[in-house]
Subunit: 277 residues, 2 copies
Amino acid sequence: MKRTEHRACFGGFQDVYQHGSTTLGCTMNFGIFLPQEAQSKKLPVLYWLSGLTCTEQNFITKAGAQRYASEHGVIIVAPDTSPRGEGIPNESAYDIGVGAGFYVNATQDPWAKNYRMYDYIVHELPALIEATFPATDRRGIFGHSMGGHGALVLGLRNPERFQSISAFSPIVAPSKVPWGEKAFTAYLGNDRKAWAEYDAVELISKIKKPQHLLVDQGLGDEFFASQLRPELLKEACEKNGHPLRLNLREGYDHSYYFIATFIGDHLAHHGKILNGV
Amino acid sequence: MKRTEHRACFGGFQDVYQHGSTTLGCTMNFGIFLPQEAQSKKLPVLYWLSGLTCTEQNFITKAGAQRYASEHGVIIVAPDTSPRGEGIPNESAYDIGVGAGFYVNATQDPWAKNYRMYDYIVHELPALIEATFPATDRRGIFGHSMGGHGALVLGLRNPERFQSISAFSPIVAPSKVPWGEKAFTAYLGNDRKAWAEYDAVELISKIKKPQHLLVDQGLGDEFFASQLRPELLKEACEKNGHPLRLNLREGYDHSYYFIATFIGDHLAHHGKILNGV
Protein backbone atom coordinates (compact mmCIF):
# COMPACT_ATOMS: atom_id res chain seq x y z
CA MET A 1 0.00 0.00 0.00
CA LYS A 2 1.30 3.44 -0.95
CA ARG A 3 0.29 6.88 0.33
CA THR A 4 -0.09 9.22 -2.66
CA GLU A 5 -1.54 12.32 -0.95
CA HIS A 6 -1.06 13.67 2.57
CA ARG A 7 -2.60 17.04 3.42
CA ALA A 8 -3.26 18.76 6.72
CA CYS A 9 -6.97 19.56 6.98
CA PHE A 10 -9.12 20.71 9.92
CA GLY A 11 -6.49 19.60 12.42
CA GLY A 12 -6.14 16.11 10.96
CA PHE A 13 -5.00 14.71 7.62
CA GLN A 14 -6.78 14.08 4.33
CA ASP A 15 -4.78 11.29 2.72
CA VAL A 16 -5.12 9.17 -0.42
CA TYR A 17 -3.77 5.63 -0.61
CA GLN A 18 -3.26 3.20 -3.48
CA HIS A 19 -3.39 -0.55 -2.93
CA GLY A 20 -3.72 -3.77 -4.87
CA SER A 21 -7.22 -5.22 -4.43
CA THR A 22 -7.45 -9.01 -4.61
CA THR A 23 -11.27 -8.83 -4.78
CA LEU A 24 -11.27 -6.53 -7.80
CA GLY A 25 -8.03 -7.67 -9.44
CA CYS A 26 -6.66 -4.17 -9.92
CA THR A 27 -5.02 -1.22 -8.19
CA MET A 28 -7.48 0.94 -6.25
CA ASN A 29 -7.35 4.41 -4.67
CA PHE A 30 -9.19 5.49 -1.56
CA GLY A 31 -9.31 8.74 0.37
CA ILE A 32 -9.10 8.62 4.16
CA PHE A 33 -9.66 11.51 6.55
CA LEU A 34 -7.99 10.98 9.91
CA PRO A 35 -9.12 13.57 12.49
CA GLN A 36 -6.57 14.90 14.98
CA GLU A 37 -8.20 12.69 17.62
CA ALA A 38 -7.04 9.62 15.68
CA GLN A 39 -3.45 10.44 16.71
CA SER A 40 -4.25 9.36 20.27
CA LYS A 41 -7.17 6.90 20.05
CA LYS A 42 -9.02 4.51 17.77
CA LEU A 43 -12.12 5.92 16.06
CA PRO A 44 -15.09 4.41 14.19
CA VAL A 45 -14.99 4.51 10.38
CA LEU A 46 -17.61 5.95 8.08
CA TYR A 47 -17.54 4.68 4.48
CA TRP A 48 -18.65 7.12 1.75
CA LEU A 49 -19.81 5.63 -1.56
CA SER A 50 -19.77 8.05 -4.49
CA GLY A 51 -22.05 8.25 -7.52
CA LEU A 52 -21.70 7.59 -11.24
CA THR A 53 -18.53 8.95 -12.91
CA CYS A 54 -16.84 9.75 -9.58
CA THR A 55 -13.44 8.69 -8.28
CA GLU A 56 -12.13 8.90 -4.72
CA GLN A 57 -11.48 12.63 -5.33
CA ASN A 58 -15.00 14.09 -5.64
CA PHE A 59 -16.09 13.66 -2.07
CA ILE A 60 -12.81 14.59 -0.42
CA THR A 61 -12.44 17.84 -2.38
CA LYS A 62 -16.07 19.04 -2.54
CA ALA A 63 -18.21 17.81 0.35
CA GLY A 64 -16.55 19.72 3.18
CA ALA A 65 -17.06 16.74 5.50
CA GLN A 66 -13.70 16.96 7.28
CA ARG A 67 -14.83 19.72 9.63
CA TYR A 68 -17.73 17.61 10.88
CA ALA A 69 -15.74 14.38 11.02
CA SER A 70 -13.34 16.17 13.37
CA GLU A 71 -16.24 17.42 15.50
CA HIS A 72 -17.86 13.99 15.77
CA GLY A 73 -14.70 11.88 16.05
CA VAL A 74 -15.03 9.61 13.03
CA ILE A 75 -12.65 8.56 10.27
CA ILE A 76 -14.07 8.83 6.74
CA VAL A 77 -12.98 6.44 3.99
CA ALA A 78 -13.97 7.34 0.41
CA PRO A 79 -13.17 4.58 -2.10
CA ASP A 80 -13.29 4.76 -5.89
CA THR A 81 -16.61 3.74 -7.54
CA SER A 82 -15.45 0.74 -9.59
CA PRO A 83 -12.41 -1.27 -10.61
CA ARG A 84 -10.29 0.79 -12.96
CA GLY A 85 -7.19 0.60 -15.14
CA GLU A 86 -5.51 -1.60 -17.69
CA GLY A 87 -7.36 -4.84 -18.41
CA ILE A 88 -10.58 -3.76 -16.65
CA PRO A 89 -13.68 -4.14 -18.90
CA ASN A 90 -15.31 -0.82 -19.74
CA GLU A 91 -17.92 0.77 -21.99
CA SER A 92 -18.02 4.28 -23.31
CA ALA A 93 -21.35 5.05 -21.59
CA TYR A 94 -21.01 6.82 -18.22
CA ASP A 95 -23.61 4.60 -16.55
CA ILE A 96 -21.92 1.24 -17.07
CA GLY A 97 -18.35 0.04 -16.71
CA VAL A 98 -15.59 2.11 -15.13
CA GLY A 99 -17.06 4.67 -12.70
CA ALA A 100 -20.31 2.72 -12.47
CA GLY A 101 -19.90 -0.45 -10.43
CA PHE A 102 -23.28 -0.12 -8.68
CA TYR A 103 -21.75 -1.85 -5.62
CA VAL A 104 -22.78 -5.36 -6.74
CA ASN A 105 -20.90 -8.61 -7.25
CA ALA A 106 -21.33 -9.05 -11.01
CA THR A 107 -22.18 -12.54 -12.28
CA GLN A 108 -22.15 -11.90 -16.04
CA ASP A 109 -19.26 -11.64 -18.48
CA PRO A 110 -17.24 -9.52 -19.07
CA TRP A 111 -17.96 -7.97 -15.64
CA ALA A 112 -17.92 -10.97 -13.29
CA LYS A 113 -14.16 -11.15 -12.81
CA ASN A 114 -13.51 -7.58 -11.60
CA TYR A 115 -16.82 -5.87 -10.82
CA ARG A 116 -17.15 -7.09 -7.22
CA MET A 117 -17.59 -3.78 -5.41
CA TYR A 118 -20.01 -5.36 -2.91
CA ASP A 119 -17.35 -7.69 -1.52
CA TYR A 120 -14.69 -4.98 -1.75
CA ILE A 121 -16.66 -2.50 0.38
CA VAL A 122 -18.20 -5.01 2.81
CA HIS A 123 -15.09 -7.12 3.43
CA GLU A 124 -11.73 -6.31 1.83
CA LEU A 125 -11.60 -2.57 2.44
CA PRO A 126 -12.71 -2.59 6.12
CA ALA A 127 -10.21 -5.39 6.84
CA LEU A 128 -7.43 -3.34 5.29
CA ILE A 129 -8.48 -0.14 7.08
CA GLU A 130 -8.77 -1.80 10.48
CA ALA A 131 -5.41 -3.52 10.12
CA THR A 132 -3.63 -0.32 9.07
CA PHE A 133 -5.23 2.72 10.72
CA PRO A 134 -6.37 3.63 14.26
CA ALA A 135 -9.88 2.30 13.57
CA THR A 136 -12.33 0.50 15.82
CA ASP A 137 -14.69 -2.12 14.37
CA ARG A 138 -17.63 0.30 14.62
CA ARG A 139 -18.63 1.25 11.06
CA GLY A 140 -21.13 3.45 9.26
CA ILE A 141 -21.95 3.75 5.58
CA PHE A 142 -23.33 6.60 3.50
CA GLY A 143 -23.24 7.78 -0.10
CA HIS A 144 -24.76 9.75 -2.96
CA SER A 145 -26.97 8.67 -5.88
CA MET A 146 -25.53 5.32 -7.07
CA GLY A 147 -23.51 5.44 -3.85
CA GLY A 148 -26.67 6.18 -1.84
CA HIS A 149 -28.10 2.98 -3.33
CA GLY A 150 -24.88 1.22 -2.35
CA ALA A 151 -25.00 2.55 1.22
CA LEU A 152 -28.62 1.46 1.71
CA VAL A 153 -28.08 -2.01 0.22
CA LEU A 154 -24.76 -2.80 1.88
CA GLY A 155 -25.95 -1.38 5.20
CA LEU A 156 -29.34 -3.13 5.20
CA ARG A 157 -27.79 -6.48 4.27
CA ASN A 158 -24.98 -6.27 6.82
CA PRO A 159 -26.29 -4.70 10.04
CA GLU A 160 -23.63 -6.50 12.07
CA ARG A 161 -20.94 -4.80 9.96
CA PHE A 162 -22.48 -1.34 9.48
CA GLN A 163 -24.18 0.12 12.53
CA SER A 164 -25.31 3.37 10.90
CA ILE A 165 -26.68 4.17 7.42
CA SER A 166 -27.59 7.32 5.52
CA ALA A 167 -27.89 8.50 1.93
CA PHE A 168 -28.13 11.56 -0.28
CA SER A 169 -30.36 11.31 -3.36
CA PRO A 170 -30.17 7.48 -3.44
CA ILE A 171 -31.40 5.25 -6.26
CA VAL A 172 -33.78 3.50 -3.85
CA ALA A 173 -35.32 1.04 -6.33
CA PRO A 174 -32.78 0.30 -9.05
CA SER A 175 -34.92 -2.57 -10.39
CA LYS A 176 -37.59 -0.04 -11.38
CA VAL A 177 -35.56 2.78 -12.98
CA PRO A 178 -33.46 3.08 -16.17
CA TRP A 179 -30.01 3.42 -14.54
CA GLY A 180 -30.56 0.33 -12.42
CA GLU A 181 -32.25 -1.76 -15.11
CA LYS A 182 -29.35 -1.15 -17.49
CA ALA A 183 -26.64 -1.84 -14.91
CA PHE A 184 -28.31 -4.87 -13.32
CA THR A 185 -29.03 -6.47 -16.71
CA ALA A 186 -25.36 -6.12 -17.61
CA TYR A 187 -23.87 -7.10 -14.26
CA LEU A 188 -26.47 -9.61 -12.97
CA GLY A 189 -28.30 -10.87 -16.08
CA ASN A 190 -32.01 -11.04 -16.82
CA ASP A 191 -33.20 -12.93 -13.75
CA ARG A 192 -34.85 -10.26 -11.61
CA LYS A 193 -34.68 -12.45 -8.51
CA ALA A 194 -30.93 -11.76 -8.44
CA TRP A 195 -31.66 -8.03 -8.68
CA ALA A 196 -33.76 -8.02 -5.50
CA GLU A 197 -30.67 -8.61 -3.36
CA TYR A 198 -29.34 -5.25 -4.54
CA ASP A 199 -32.56 -3.21 -4.35
CA ALA A 200 -33.14 -1.25 -1.12
CA VAL A 201 -36.93 -1.11 -1.53
CA GLU A 202 -37.07 -4.89 -2.06
CA LEU A 203 -34.75 -5.51 0.88
CA ILE A 204 -36.79 -3.40 3.34
CA SER A 205 -39.60 -6.00 3.32
CA LYS A 206 -37.19 -8.79 4.30
CA ILE A 207 -35.11 -7.07 6.98
CA LYS A 208 -35.45 -8.67 10.39
CA LYS A 209 -33.52 -5.98 12.31
CA PRO A 210 -34.59 -2.49 11.22
CA GLN A 211 -31.91 0.22 11.29
CA HIS A 212 -32.77 3.90 11.44
CA LEU A 213 -32.29 5.37 7.94
CA LEU A 214 -31.53 9.03 7.24
CA VAL A 215 -32.11 10.18 3.64
CA ASP A 216 -31.80 13.69 2.19
CA GLN A 217 -33.30 14.35 -1.23
CA GLY A 218 -33.44 17.62 -3.17
CA LEU A 219 -36.82 18.48 -4.69
CA GLY A 220 -35.06 20.32 -7.53
CA ASP A 221 -33.05 17.21 -8.38
CA GLU A 222 -33.07 16.60 -12.13
CA PHE A 223 -33.20 12.80 -11.54
CA PHE A 224 -35.93 12.88 -8.87
CA ALA A 225 -38.85 11.34 -10.77
CA SER A 226 -36.95 9.29 -13.35
CA GLN A 227 -34.18 7.58 -11.37
CA LEU A 228 -34.45 8.21 -7.61
CA ARG A 229 -38.14 7.92 -6.60
CA PRO A 230 -37.82 8.40 -2.81
CA GLU A 231 -41.57 7.81 -2.41
CA LEU A 232 -40.97 4.10 -3.02
CA LEU A 233 -38.58 3.95 -0.06
CA LYS A 234 -41.04 5.88 2.10
CA GLU A 235 -43.88 3.47 1.26
CA ALA A 236 -41.72 0.39 1.88
CA CYS A 237 -40.49 1.73 5.23
CA GLU A 238 -44.01 2.66 6.38
CA LYS A 239 -45.43 -0.70 5.34
CA ASN A 240 -42.72 -2.64 7.16
CA GLY A 241 -42.34 -0.47 10.25
CA HIS A 242 -38.84 0.54 9.26
CA PRO A 243 -37.69 3.85 10.79
CA LEU A 244 -36.87 6.45 8.11
CA ARG A 245 -36.12 10.16 8.38
CA LEU A 246 -36.64 11.43 4.84
CA ASN A 247 -35.77 15.11 4.39
CA LEU A 248 -37.13 16.54 1.14
CA ARG A 249 -35.20 19.75 0.51
CA GLU A 250 -36.92 22.38 -1.59
CA GLY A 251 -34.85 23.80 -4.46
CA TYR A 252 -31.78 21.58 -3.99
CA ASP A 253 -30.41 19.65 -6.95
CA HIS A 254 -28.20 16.55 -7.42
CA SER A 255 -24.85 18.34 -6.97
CA TYR A 256 -22.19 18.53 -4.28
CA TYR A 257 -23.59 21.95 -3.33
CA PHE A 258 -26.56 19.99 -1.96
CA ILE A 259 -24.34 17.43 -0.23
CA ALA A 260 -22.12 20.13 1.32
CA THR A 261 -25.17 21.91 2.73
CA PHE A 262 -26.45 18.88 4.68
CA ILE A 263 -23.33 16.76 5.21
CA GLY A 264 -23.05 18.08 8.78
CA ASP A 265 -26.46 16.55 9.66
CA HIS A 266 -25.31 13.19 8.32
CA LEU A 267 -22.05 13.27 10.28
CA ALA A 268 -24.07 14.05 13.41
CA HIS A 269 -26.38 11.07 12.67
CA HIS A 270 -23.47 8.66 12.28
CA GLY A 271 -21.42 10.15 15.12
CA LYS A 272 -24.30 9.72 17.53
CA ILE A 273 -24.81 6.05 16.65
CA LEU A 274 -21.14 5.12 16.30
CA ASN A 275 -19.81 7.03 19.30
CA GLY A 276 -22.96 6.91 21.43
CA VAL A 277 -22.96 10.70 21.94
CA MET B 1 -25.20 38.84 -18.96
CA LYS B 2 -26.25 35.20 -18.79
CA ARG B 3 -26.68 32.92 -15.76
CA THR B 4 -25.03 29.57 -16.54
CA GLU B 5 -25.31 27.84 -13.13
CA HIS B 6 -27.90 28.17 -10.38
CA ARG B 7 -27.66 25.84 -7.39
CA ALA B 8 -29.25 25.94 -3.96
CA CYS B 9 -26.53 25.93 -1.32
CA PHE B 10 -26.63 26.58 2.44
CA GLY B 11 -30.02 28.29 2.18
CA GLY B 12 -28.93 30.62 -0.64
CA PHE B 13 -27.73 30.16 -4.20
CA GLN B 14 -24.34 29.49 -5.74
CA ASP B 15 -24.62 30.90 -9.25
CA VAL B 16 -22.24 31.39 -12.16
CA TYR B 17 -22.67 34.21 -14.68
CA GLN B 18 -21.08 34.96 -18.03
CA HIS B 19 -20.71 38.51 -19.28
CA GLY B 20 -18.83 40.53 -21.90
CA SER B 21 -16.05 42.53 -20.27
CA THR B 22 -15.18 45.82 -21.97
CA THR B 23 -12.02 46.16 -19.85
CA LEU B 24 -10.66 42.77 -20.89
CA GLY B 25 -12.17 42.53 -24.36
CA CYS B 26 -13.54 39.02 -23.86
CA THR B 27 -16.31 36.97 -22.27
CA MET B 28 -15.74 36.34 -18.56
CA ASN B 29 -17.27 34.00 -15.98
CA PHE B 30 -17.71 34.74 -12.32
CA GLY B 31 -19.23 32.78 -9.44
CA ILE B 32 -21.53 34.57 -7.02
CA PHE B 33 -22.89 33.20 -3.75
CA LEU B 34 -26.06 34.93 -2.62
CA PRO B 35 -27.00 34.01 0.96
CA GLN B 36 -30.68 33.58 1.82
CA GLU B 37 -30.53 36.98 3.56
CA ALA B 38 -29.88 38.60 0.16
CA GLN B 39 -33.49 37.81 -0.78
CA SER B 40 -34.71 40.49 1.63
CA LYS B 41 -31.85 43.00 2.01
CA LYS B 42 -28.69 44.35 0.42
CA LEU B 43 -25.43 42.81 1.64
CA PRO B 44 -21.74 43.73 1.36
CA VAL B 45 -19.67 41.91 -1.27
CA LEU B 46 -16.46 40.01 -0.70
CA TYR B 47 -14.28 39.47 -3.80
CA TRP B 48 -12.21 36.27 -3.93
CA LEU B 49 -9.16 36.24 -6.21
CA SER B 50 -7.90 32.78 -7.15
CA GLY B 51 -4.37 31.58 -7.84
CA LEU B 52 -2.43 30.42 -10.89
CA THR B 53 -4.25 27.98 -13.22
CA CYS B 54 -7.63 28.53 -11.52
CA THR B 55 -10.96 29.52 -13.05
CA GLU B 56 -14.08 30.77 -11.26
CA GLN B 57 -14.82 27.12 -10.36
CA ASN B 58 -12.02 26.22 -7.91
CA PHE B 59 -13.11 28.41 -5.02
CA ILE B 60 -16.84 27.83 -5.35
CA THR B 61 -16.53 24.03 -5.42
CA LYS B 62 -13.68 23.47 -2.93
CA ALA B 63 -13.40 26.18 -0.27
CA GLY B 64 -16.66 25.51 1.59
CA ALA B 65 -17.09 29.28 2.11
CA GLN B 66 -20.86 29.37 1.51
CA ARG B 67 -21.70 28.21 5.02
CA TYR B 68 -19.74 31.06 6.59
CA ALA B 69 -20.94 33.66 4.07
CA SER B 70 -24.47 32.77 5.14
CA GLU B 71 -23.55 33.10 8.81
CA HIS B 72 -21.86 36.47 8.37
CA GLY B 73 -24.25 37.96 5.80
CA VAL B 74 -21.92 38.63 2.88
CA ILE B 75 -22.13 37.94 -0.84
CA ILE B 76 -19.01 36.32 -2.33
CA VAL B 77 -17.97 37.01 -5.92
CA ALA B 78 -15.28 34.74 -7.40
CA PRO B 79 -14.06 35.89 -10.83
CA ASP B 80 -11.83 34.05 -13.28
CA THR B 81 -8.06 34.70 -12.99
CA SER B 82 -7.37 36.21 -16.42
CA PRO B 83 -8.94 37.05 -19.75
CA ARG B 84 -9.64 33.85 -21.64
CA GLY B 85 -10.88 32.55 -24.98
CA GLU B 86 -10.43 33.06 -28.69
CA GLY B 87 -8.03 35.85 -29.60
CA ILE B 88 -6.59 36.22 -26.07
CA PRO B 89 -2.77 36.00 -26.01
CA ASN B 90 -1.47 32.96 -24.17
CA GLU B 91 1.67 30.94 -23.51
CA SER B 92 1.94 27.28 -22.77
CA ALA B 93 3.56 27.89 -19.33
CA TYR B 94 1.08 27.81 -16.43
CA ASP B 95 2.58 30.92 -14.81
CA ILE B 96 2.04 33.36 -17.64
CA GLY B 97 -0.86 34.05 -19.99
CA VAL B 98 -4.33 32.51 -19.52
CA GLY B 99 -4.91 31.60 -15.85
CA ALA B 100 -2.11 33.94 -14.74
CA GLY B 101 -3.14 37.57 -15.01
CA PHE B 102 -1.43 38.59 -11.73
CA TYR B 103 -4.14 41.27 -11.28
CA VAL B 104 -2.13 43.99 -13.07
CA ASN B 105 -2.87 46.32 -15.97
CA ALA B 106 -0.30 45.07 -18.50
CA THR B 107 1.63 47.66 -20.48
CA GLN B 108 3.65 45.38 -22.77
CA ASP B 109 2.66 43.61 -25.98
CA PRO B 110 1.04 41.19 -26.57
CA TRP B 111 -0.56 41.48 -23.11
CA ALA B 112 -1.48 45.18 -22.89
CA LYS B 113 -4.76 44.99 -24.78
CA ASN B 114 -6.51 42.31 -22.69
CA TYR B 115 -4.55 41.68 -19.48
CA ARG B 116 -6.14 44.42 -17.38
CA MET B 117 -7.32 42.42 -14.38
CA TYR B 118 -6.54 45.31 -12.01
CA ASP B 119 -9.13 47.57 -13.62
CA TYR B 120 -11.55 44.69 -14.07
CA ILE B 121 -11.57 43.79 -10.37
CA VAL B 122 -11.32 47.32 -8.97
CA HIS B 123 -13.85 48.98 -11.27
CA GLU B 124 -15.79 47.03 -13.89
CA LEU B 125 -16.82 44.00 -11.86
CA PRO B 126 -18.00 45.86 -8.71
CA ALA B 127 -20.00 48.29 -10.91
CA LEU B 128 -21.68 45.33 -12.62
CA ILE B 129 -22.35 43.51 -9.34
CA GLU B 130 -23.78 46.54 -7.59
CA ALA B 131 -26.03 47.40 -10.54
CA THR B 132 -27.38 43.82 -10.81
CA PHE B 133 -27.48 42.15 -7.40
CA PRO B 134 -28.71 43.13 -3.90
CA ALA B 135 -25.27 44.52 -2.99
CA THR B 136 -24.30 47.50 -0.87
CA ASP B 137 -21.17 49.49 -1.70
CA ARG B 138 -19.29 47.92 1.24
CA ARG B 139 -16.61 45.63 -0.20
CA GLY B 140 -13.92 43.26 0.98
CA ILE B 141 -11.21 41.46 -0.96
CA PHE B 142 -9.34 38.22 -0.31
CA GLY B 143 -7.55 35.54 -2.29
CA HIS B 144 -5.00 32.75 -2.49
CA SER B 145 -1.37 32.71 -3.73
CA MET B 146 -1.35 34.89 -6.89
CA GLY B 147 -4.83 35.92 -5.76
CA GLY B 148 -3.54 36.66 -2.26
CA HIS B 149 -1.05 39.02 -3.92
CA GLY B 150 -3.95 40.52 -5.88
CA ALA B 151 -6.06 41.00 -2.76
CA LEU B 152 -3.25 42.74 -0.86
CA VAL B 153 -2.31 45.02 -3.76
CA LEU B 154 -5.82 45.96 -4.86
CA GLY B 155 -6.95 46.40 -1.26
CA LEU B 156 -3.94 48.45 -0.13
CA ARG B 157 -4.16 50.74 -3.19
CA ASN B 158 -7.91 51.27 -2.92
CA PRO B 159 -8.92 51.56 0.75
CA GLU B 160 -11.96 53.65 -0.20
CA ARG B 161 -13.20 50.80 -2.42
CA PHE B 162 -12.21 47.77 -0.28
CA GLN B 163 -12.78 48.13 3.43
CA SER B 164 -11.45 44.71 4.44
CA ILE B 165 -8.48 42.65 3.19
CA SER B 166 -7.16 39.15 3.83
CA ALA B 167 -5.05 36.53 2.06
CA PHE B 168 -4.08 32.87 2.09
CA SER B 169 -0.48 32.04 1.12
CA PRO B 170 0.00 35.34 -0.78
CA ILE B 171 2.93 36.20 -3.03
CA VAL B 172 3.76 39.20 -0.82
CA ALA B 173 6.79 40.47 -2.75
CA PRO B 174 6.39 39.51 -6.42
CA SER B 175 9.34 41.73 -7.42
CA LYS B 176 11.67 39.47 -5.43
CA VAL B 177 10.49 35.96 -6.40
CA PRO B 178 10.57 33.92 -9.65
CA TRP B 179 6.79 33.83 -10.33
CA GLY B 180 6.51 37.60 -9.96
CA GLU B 181 9.72 38.46 -11.79
CA LYS B 182 8.65 36.41 -14.80
CA ALA B 183 5.10 37.78 -14.89
CA PHE B 184 6.03 41.42 -14.22
CA THR B 185 8.76 41.37 -16.86
CA ALA B 186 6.25 40.09 -19.40
CA TYR B 187 3.30 42.25 -18.42
CA LEU B 188 5.05 45.45 -17.20
CA GLY B 189 8.50 45.43 -18.86
CA ASN B 190 11.94 45.77 -17.33
CA ASP B 191 11.45 49.01 -15.39
CA ARG B 192 11.15 47.90 -11.79
CA LYS B 193 9.59 51.21 -10.75
CA ALA B 194 6.43 50.06 -12.53
CA TRP B 195 6.54 46.79 -10.56
CA ALA B 196 6.46 48.56 -7.19
CA GLU B 197 2.83 49.59 -7.75
CA TYR B 198 1.91 45.89 -7.77
CA ASP B 199 4.09 44.69 -4.89
CA ALA B 200 2.43 44.53 -1.47
CA VAL B 201 5.70 44.78 0.48
CA GLU B 202 6.70 47.87 -1.53
CA LEU B 203 3.25 49.41 -1.11
CA ILE B 204 3.19 49.00 2.68
CA SER B 205 5.86 51.68 3.11
CA LYS B 206 3.80 54.20 1.13
CA ILE B 207 0.34 53.59 2.56
CA LYS B 208 -1.10 56.60 4.36
CA LYS B 209 -4.15 54.81 5.80
CA PRO B 210 -3.22 51.42 7.26
CA GLN B 211 -5.82 48.66 7.02
CA HIS B 212 -5.79 45.63 9.27
CA LEU B 213 -4.43 42.68 7.27
CA LEU B 214 -5.20 39.03 8.02
CA VAL B 215 -2.86 36.49 6.40
CA ASP B 216 -2.83 32.69 6.82
CA GLN B 217 0.21 30.78 5.63
CA GLY B 218 0.93 27.05 5.87
CA LEU B 219 4.39 26.13 7.14
CA GLY B 220 4.29 22.95 5.02
CA ASP B 221 3.65 25.00 1.88
CA GLU B 222 5.90 23.83 -0.95
CA PHE B 223 6.24 27.45 -2.20
CA PHE B 224 6.91 29.02 1.22
CA ALA B 225 10.58 29.95 0.88
CA SER B 226 10.84 30.29 -2.90
CA GLN B 227 7.73 32.27 -3.89
CA LEU B 228 5.72 33.45 -0.87
CA ARG B 229 8.17 34.73 1.79
CA PRO B 230 5.68 35.99 4.41
CA GLU B 231 8.59 37.26 6.58
CA LEU B 232 9.01 40.14 4.11
CA LEU B 233 5.42 41.25 4.72
CA LYS B 234 5.88 40.92 8.46
CA GLU B 235 9.04 43.08 8.42
CA ALA B 236 7.43 45.74 6.23
CA CYS B 237 4.32 45.91 8.42
CA GLU B 238 6.35 46.13 11.63
CA LYS B 239 8.62 48.82 10.20
CA ASN B 240 5.69 50.94 9.02
CA GLY B 241 3.30 50.40 11.93
CA HIS B 242 0.87 48.53 9.71
CA PRO B 243 -1.45 46.14 11.60
CA LEU B 244 -0.99 42.52 10.47
CA ARG B 245 -2.33 39.28 11.92
CA LEU B 246 -0.08 36.61 10.36
CA ASN B 247 -1.09 33.05 11.23
CA LEU B 248 1.63 30.52 10.43
CA ARG B 249 -0.06 27.12 10.35
CA GLU B 250 2.11 24.13 11.08
CA GLY B 251 1.86 21.27 8.57
CA TYR B 252 -0.54 22.96 6.15
CA ASP B 253 0.32 23.12 2.46
CA HIS B 254 -0.72 25.28 -0.52
CA SER B 255 -3.95 23.41 -1.30
CA TYR B 256 -7.66 24.05 -0.89
CA TYR B 257 -7.60 21.70 2.14
CA PHE B 258 -5.67 24.49 3.87
CA ILE B 259 -8.05 27.18 2.63
CA ALA B 260 -11.15 25.18 3.65
CA THR B 261 -9.76 24.73 7.16
CA PHE B 262 -9.36 28.45 7.85
CA ILE B 263 -11.87 30.08 5.48
CA GLY B 264 -14.32 30.49 8.38
CA ASP B 265 -11.85 32.76 10.23
CA HIS B 266 -11.49 34.91 7.12
CA LEU B 267 -15.25 35.24 6.66
CA ALA B 268 -15.51 36.29 10.31
CA HIS B 269 -12.77 38.92 9.76
CA HIS B 270 -14.53 40.41 6.74
CA GLY B 271 -18.01 40.08 8.20
CA LYS B 272 -17.00 42.01 11.30
CA ILE B 273 -15.53 44.90 9.31
CA LEU B 274 -18.15 44.99 6.56
CA ASN B 275 -21.22 44.48 8.74
CA GLY B 276 -19.86 46.02 11.94
CA VAL B 277 -20.75 42.94 14.01
